[in-house]
Amino acid sequence: MDPNLSNVDFRDFWQLAPATVLSVWGLVVLLADLALAGRMSAPARRRAIGWLTLAGVALALLAAAGLIQVQQLAKAETQGTPGWLSPSLAEYFSRAGGAIFLGTLSADLQTGVLNVLFIIMLGLVVWQSMAWSFTEDWGEYFALVTWATVGMMLLAASEELVTLFLTLETMTICLYLTTAFEKTRRRSAEGGLKYFVYGSVSSALFLFGLSLLYGLTGTTQFESIREVLASTGPAARGLSGNVTGATALLLMLVGFGFKIAAVPFHQWAPDAYEGAPAPVTAWIATGSKLASFVALMKVFLHALQPWSHPSNELLGPGWLGVIAIVSAVTMTYGNFAALVQRNFKRMLAYSSIANAGYMLVGVAAASVSTRGAEAAGSVLFYLVVYAFANIGAFAVAAWLVRDKKTDDIDDLNGLGMQSPLLAICILVLMLSLIGIPPFAGFFGKLYMFMEAINQQHAKAWPTLMGLVALGLMNSVVSAFYYVRVLKAMFLREPGGSRRLGLAGGSIEIPIVIGTLVAIFFGIYPGRLMSVMQGAAVSMLTTTTSTSGGFASMISAPSGTGYAPLPPAMASAPASPKSTRLDPEQAKKYADRMKKAEAQAKALASPGAQPKNAPPGEAKDALAKKAEAQQEDQ
């Protein structure tokens, strides 16, 4: 119980290098702004501070990439250590990644990949912020954006409820503030306040649910929560028969529902998106969503997985049915509400709500079977593709606000004739968001839906198939409002008193990079797929000991087609012992996990368990630990 602090390995701080760099750089930016405040005009300061921030982002990117590199090097050279690493560090890094700081944070493939992604997206957001002067307090603004990123990175790395809550708050408090940063307009302050009120209420709900869960299990660690939940009998699990558990579960769902803007907890999103300055909106819609989804998957697919569908009924007691319903409602509502929007950012807000619905399909699918990591990987893939497309789209909004002072869809009229190349890029972004091949949005959506159908669970299959069909129909509906953007750009003549000026680098670069991502990963999705699957495996594997390191990212084959699968539902029918308890499938899954961790295998300690291992194993482990404890006493 009482933590022995001497167990902390202070070399763990190296694993946090990117986050440390960014948090320190926030202070640097703040101080630099203070020093420059009297001497420079606000626009000049915007550029100076913006470049300074970008330098920090580059430094952090270097740190994150370097970390991956060092891990790989240290692992590859098992015989001798690289000369420039001190022996102690070489030993430390050659140990497989996994848990750091007593298991409160993870430092593995998943965090490595996500850190790099967060930093790249932060770079685009910072770049986009330099487009125009929506505020004068540049130091504070850039510092807050940077710190929000630190929150996201640690949120995605957290392995335990206390760090989860703290990092969630770090992220959202910074975002509340930046939302209200546009001083010249009322709606910015209003959006900020609404975001704040909804956000902090949801935090309070989440915290209360968290406290109940802590009461039920006595622990905050994801892995041990999972063990405790799995060891209690089926009757006590889930929503029925356990009021406390049900309350905890629902409250945590509500909390996450707010963060990812799922219906019916979405009301803040349109106002906050419309009110916030465009770069901040981009950061709320992408970084915050990505981090929240990762946290959601960790909590629900890892810690609360035993409560997913305890009695093997999809709509029985368990959170799976709730998520399925929320997902269906979210995507439908989001799309239909987006149809009537005139404001570009508000439309994107509803589209982001709808996208949360699609992603929940993947989350629901990931919990029902032994192919959970693959499904979670597809959600990550979709999140990345979605995030880059959205950063580009919000850069367009920034452009509109800068030059036209409004950001309605009609403000895009005639863009196709005025700057055809950028218009084509925006076209690609919109098509990717609709899900039209050959762009990445299409493949991402299809990949997620295919993983959802592929869950070999006889009872869940009809529901998942229904969700997928609904999702596909919703994509058609979504085409209607995205096409309005295309219509404005290409089919209309330019109008209005103000014209769009030249975009400038700070607007062009996010748009172009979003476009390139959409094209490249639409045609060659393979590499990103395997990286994201590797990330998902390490995301959903316990890190109380060690887990697959960066090496597995490079070598892990993303599966070789469907040959090794069981012949599917016909042969694994609705027998009561279905998937989760089926030892054969569990074994196959374990094999897959082993394969993914091929290079780290030698170093992996026996404590590492695949997440979806049969509860029996978990029970055994628990029993052993209990014995050990008794001996201690």
């Binding site: 098509l431 039209i436 050959p438 295919m450 596909l472 209607f480 219509k487 089919l491």
Partner: protein, 591 residues
């Protein structure tokens, strides 16, 4: 020329042309036009090379199933399907590469008679449409870029043998079409464009769901053998394949996809492709799109795009779900007949020339549906081959005549600036050449014996007669209706005297160049249907018919039982799965 280069260049050449067009400065419109024309002509030449290979005696003339098993992917050390092995050497018009191995998605192209005929048609019509767009003046660069993108995607649809790849090309096609209608269309273009886009997207969702069902279906029977799988070895089929040829083999020769699932797959494919075809009740986007679209785009739309619906039915809906098709046959046939009659009747009521032609397309496409659905497989299956051959021929014939008709409408619209049939008149005296060309093409569309439409309608009606007398009689009645509206139209436009239009110039050289190939083909395909088309198309059609018939006879036990009660005699000519099916050769030989 290797298969890979040949087949890839079919869709890549227009795309390269598009990049070239985009690279040319906006002002030099002539350069853009000639570049686009060159791209389409080169593409057309490549299609002709492919045709030459196919018709010749090389390895490429073997049935598609026999060719694809020589083009297999091999597993490398880690078990990934990566290395392609074209063991049959070059010239068999199939190419297969791994694309996304995780989902077994392949870059898999191939041509047989069915697809090749449509590819050649696409090549021809795109050249003619490119010439017909000479007088587009608004944003020339964008127009030709989108035009070439459209050609590329249509080519891709026809050459794909992988369902995923097919779907990708199918969807890519929507976008240039949307803009071509939406930017260069008539006054109500935005409405027509969005209607087209939403209808087609909606239809493609059905297709995608059907594809996903085929991919993920876990099988009704265990131990089903895959006959033509990607690795070239016979091994148990467990689904998870997008390979059209393999899936066709499984669906028609094994019980892996049972009647229940095939019905679903068939209905989903049917809805998706009937929207594209279009058939009643999904046809309402077509008149709007045609009326608003500029002339060359109407030519493409009627000449090729509608054929993609028909191609999807022939290539996917029927072969991948033969039992489902047989189960729904009467309903589909009735739908086809209703489309024929409905299209003809509505066409008769039109006063807009273009709308009339559009509705005549609905009517003619009804023959495609009817020909495919006249599935009297168990008593006299040889007539089913007539039906499918007729449907195929109808697609080609309609591709020629409807493109011609829309072009002719465009010619008169350019001069008179109206399409109102009540205002036009007396053009025969004013524009004699225009009149002569129009007569040939409209009569061809009407189905005058000796012209191309007749062959198709005759085949289909013969097949229908052996399927259901009632439907055949109704379909035959429609011939009268068709004659009615076409003759009436010709009368209103060409006969009589008109002072209003005096002085309109006759067709110029460019327009004649566009029209003459269509006129020649209209006549030639009517006079030599066998030599020109059926000799190389109908073997492939025969393979498709054979597999559907085999499936119906061997898998559809209940249907056989009912038939045995009434007509116990099953002709043997179908049962032998010979290399060149007897059915088809008999059908084509009987001409």
């Amino acid at each position: 020329m290797s298969d890979n280069l040949l087949l890839t260049s079919l869709w890549l050449l227009p795309l390269i042309g598009m990049v070239g067009v985009l690279a040319v400065p906006r002002r030099s419109e002539a350069a853009i036009k000639y570049l686009a024309l060159a791209a389409t002509i080169i593409t057309f030449v490549v299609t002709l090379i492919a045709l030459g290979l196919y018709v010749g005696d090389g390895p490429s003339s073997a049935p598609l199933q026999d060719r694809v098993i020589h083009n297999v992917l091999q597993k490398d050390g880690s078990g990934a399907l990566t290395i392609a092995d074209e063991s049959a050497g070059e010239g068999d018009l199939v190419v297969r590469r791994s694309w996304i191995p995780y989902f077994n998605i392949q870059y898999y192209l191939g041509l047989d008679g069915i697809s090749l005929s449509l590819v050649v048609l696409t090549g021809l019509i795109s050249v003619l449409a490119c010439l017909a767009s000479w007088n587009i003046t608004k944003q020339v660069k964008g127009y030709y870029a989108l035009f070439l993108l459209l050609v590329a995607s249509m080519m891709g649809v026809f050459v794909s043998l992988d369902l995923f790849l097919f779907y990708v090309f199918f969807e890519v096609m929507l976008l240039p079409m949307y803009f071509l209608i939406g930017i260069w269309g008539g006054p109500d273009r935005e409405y027509a464009a969005i209607k087209f886009l939403l209808y087609t997207l909606f239809g493609s969702v059905f297709i995608l769901v059907a594809v996903l069902i085929l991919f993920f279906w876990s099988g009704d029977t265990t131990g089903a053998q895959s006959l033509y799988n990607a690795t070239g070895q016979v091994q148990p089929f467990t689904g998870h394949s997008f390979d059209i040829v393999e899936l066709t083999g499984v669906a028609t020769k094994t019980g892996y996809y049972g009647l229940g699932i095939q019905s679903w797959v068939f209905v989903l494919f049917l809805i998706g492709f009937l929207i594209k075809l279009p058939s009643f009740p999904f046809h309402t986007w077509l008149p709007d799109a045609h009326v608003e679209a500029p002339t060359p785009i109407s030519m493409i739309l009627a000449g090729i795009l509608l054929k993609i619906g028909g191609y999807g039915l022939i290539r996917l809906a029927w072969p991948l779900a033969p039992l489902g098709a047989h189960y729904w046959a009467y309903f589909v046939a009735a739908l086809g007949v209703f489309s024929i009659l409905y299209g003809a009747l509505v066409a008769m009521a039109q006063t807009d020339f273009k709308k009339l032609v559009a509705y005549s397309s609905v009517s003619h496409m009804g023959y495609v549906t009817l020909g495919l659905a006249a599935m009297n497989l168990l008593t006299s299956p040889q007539y089913y081959a007539y039906g499918v051959n007729g449907a195929m021929f109808m697609m080609l014939a309609h591709g020629i005549t409807s493109a011609g008709m829309f072009f002719l409408v465009g010619v008169i619209y350019d001069r008179a600036h109206t399409r109102d049939l009540n205002k036009l008149g007396g053009l025969n005296n004013i524009m004699p050449l225009y009149g002569a060309i129009s007569y040939v093409i409209f009569f061809g569309s009407m189905g005058l014996p000796g012209l191309c439409g007749f062959v198709a309608e005759f085949f289909v009606v013969v097949a229908a007669f052996n399927y259901s007398k009632l439907l055949a009689v109704l379909a035959a009645t429609a011939v009268v209706l068709t004659a009615g509206y076409i003759l009436w139209t010709l009368q209103r436009v060409f006969l009589g005297r008109s002072e209003t239009w005096k002085g309109l110039p006759d067709m110029d050289l460019r327009e004649i160049v566009v029209a003459v190939p269509l006129v020649v083909l209209t006549i030639a395909m009517g006079v030599f249907p066998n030599t020109l088309v059926l000799s190389w198309v109908s073997p492939s059609v025969g393979e498709m018919v054979n597999s559907v018939v085999t499936a119906a006879r061997e898998l559809n036990v209940s249907a056989i039982r009912t038939v045995e009660k009434t007509a116990p005699r099953i002709p043997d000519s179908i049962s032998a799965p010979s290399t060149r099916p007897a059915v088809a050769s008999r059908a084509s030989g009987s001409l």
